[in-house]
Amino acid sequence: MMREKRWFPILYMFLITAVFSTVVIGFTALTRDRVEANERLAFETAVLAVLPEMGGGLRSGSIHQRFVEQVSEPDGSSGGAYTLRKDGEIEAYALPFDGQGFWAPIRGVIGIAKDRKAVIGISFYEQAETPGLGAEIVKPAFCDQFKSKLLSQGDKPISIKRPGTELGESDVYAVTGATQTSVRLEAMVNDAVTTWQAKVGGEEGSG
């Protein structure tokens, strides 16, 4: 009988894996459109959250509409950042950044005022850091620190420092116990900001 053959378990495992994988792949394909729409919405929410007077109190249905109406896509003058404009003048920048976190990629948006110096806010739309440690970066306790910090007052655009040390104008405190997340986050934000600064040319007026 076939079941007694030594290769039967291998064939069985192979077949059963193929069957279940096929169903999972089919299922994923069926829901792909919805998942992509959700990801898009998460990104738009993150962008609105770092622009002045945009994020608060929106129902999920109106986020997409608000985004389309108010936010301008990146163009040459914005250095790759999304912008909020009033009568054609840039009011604020929302600069996306991403990079490898401790476990999985971290993606977020940093809001910068029109003077290209003051930070308005930071928000994340994708991360899978350790719950209770690295994942605390999405909490207001961490994010709110960035409000009204000034870029590049020290040696880096933004420094994430060990809690308890003295803070300069460009510094925020890290989440205790999440050293890896903090180091990686600092690097990815600074990379994005440095590239953006080079494109838009420093502070307003000088570029």
Binding site: R3, F8, P9, Y12, M13, I16, T17, F20, V23, V24, F27, T28, T31, R34, V35, N38, A42, A128, P131, G132, A135
Partner: protein, 211 residues
């Protein structure tokens, strides 16, 4: 323990899962997820629905394939089946309730390693027909859910003054000094220990006269 009957009725299977061999206070299985997701009632409900779905269907599937699966690779096959249902839950949440998916974070994926699921597939699904395996999985998961919801209800009310996000009279008012420790991991240990203690005491009192 009652003597095993050749064909247990659905009522017996239900009683087994919900009370006599309740996974949490009877077998003390699946404690990691109990501790992790029970600080908010809503998260707990979703976690429980996910577990009921996964456990009943994987146990039934293991049972359907039980005569075909070679004994020496059955654990691998069981893990594959469990993972399959968990991924389905994860994909569904990602598509229709992304906020909940990010709330639960890695814990949905960790249903795969929930010892209750593997335990029931091994102990019951492997040696019983699909219908009964499904019922056993369903009621075991329900027994788990009831305890989780009790723990979650106390933790959320005492710690945050809310129930499933809705303010509870008195506990939400300034008169109640919120026990923040209840929503942190240590609170879960305290609550779980108390719940296991209470239920085991009741169970023992009921069983003693029978001895």
């Amino acid at each position: 323990m009652s003597p095993a009957t050749p064909t247990p009725r659905a009522k017996d299977i239900a009683l087994q899962g919900l009370w006599r061999e309740n996974p949490i206070f009877g077998q003390v299985l699946g404690i990691c997820s109990t501790l992790a997701v029970t600080n908010l009632v809503l998260n707990t409900v979703v976690m429980c629905v996910g577990l009921v779905f996964t456990l009943s269907l994987s146990s039934a599937t293991v049972s359907i394939l039980r005569t075909l699966t070679p004994r020496n690779i059955r654990m691998m096959v069981e893990t594959l089946i469990i993972a399959f249902y968990v991924i389905i839950v994860d994909v569904l949440l990602g598509a229709y309730w992304p906020a909940m998916r990010s709330n639960l974070g890695p814990y949905i994926g960790l249903i795969i390693t929930n010892c209750i699921v593997m335990g029931r597939c091994e102990a019951y699904g492997n040696s019983n027909p699909p219908g009964r395996a499904f019922l056993d999985g369903f009621f075991m998961a329900l027994g788990y859910s009831v305890i989780l919801l009790i723990v979650a209800t106390f933790r959320e009310i005492l710690g945050l003054g809310t129930f499933a996000g809705l303010a509870v009279p008195f506990f939400a008012s300034p008169a109640w000094d919120k026990w923040i420790i209840m929503v942190t991991p240590p609170g879960a240990f305290f609550m779980l220990a108390i719940v296991v203690w209470v239920f085991r005491s009741i169970q023992q009192r009921k069983e003693e006269p029978a001895k």
